[in-house]
Amino acid sequence: DTAVSQTPKYLVTQMGNDKSIKCEQNLGHDTMYWYKQDSKKFLKIMFSYNNKELIINETVPNRFSPKSPDKAHLNLHINSLELGDSAVYFCASSIRGDTQYFGPGTRLTVL
């Protein structure tokens, strides 16, 4: 069983479009995260959710919005996609501040 899953794995889209990436964890963790990894492999935390409450919101554009329907899911919605949004997006989960378990990543390409 996959612990943290993301869909889709690859996403190619045009500038200006709106897209969503889904994330699900079956580990029973209480905290979920979204990270952006750029071409230089820098890993930047975007959001985290603990028990359905946003507890970290780094300085990301408000075109990005996390949505958590329940503890097992944290989806990422992106409006008006820009070229600079091209990156690999990783979802992760943990129990509070313990080890993070990462999903396989979603490679987003904005044309």
Binding site: F42, F90, Q100, G103
Partner: protein, 116 residues
């Protein structure tokens, strides 16, 4: 603001060479410390972690790390690297875990290439 510094951005070693990757953080309170590895084309996975107790921690695949509180450091070591250790290595700090803010900070990563 808290930060995590990894001094080596690119490291190239021959097989059987010894490895040490530096990691320093800036935070004076209680921290949880982690090293993650990202193999080519894969997601990050945990190598080892330190929460408390013996400052020398051992992880998977022969890796170990030493927490030196006075130096705010958590360096990663391996006595003899293998070609399969080629990967990106990330140091991470969970600053002030007791408060419940769960603020994870990752370093910029070190790209290790091991030559066969």
């Amino acid at each position: 603001a808290q930060s995590v510094s990894q001094h080596n951005h690119h490291v190239i070693l021959s097989e059987a060479a010894s490895l040490e990757l530096g990691c320093n953080y800036s935070y004076g309170g209680t921290v949880n410390l982690f090293w993650y590895v990202q193999y080519p084309g894969q997601h990050l996975q945990l190598l080892l972690k330190y929460f408390s107790g013996d400052p020398l921690v051992k992880g998977i695949k022969g890796f170990e790390a030493e927490f030196i509180k006075s130096k705010f450091s958590f360096n990663l070591r391996k006595p003899s690297v293998q070609w399969s250790d080629t990967a990106e290595y990330f140091c991470a700090v969970n600053a002030d875990p007791i408060s419940g803010t769960y603020k994870y900070i990752f370093g910029t990563g070190t790209r290790l290439k091991v030559l066969a």
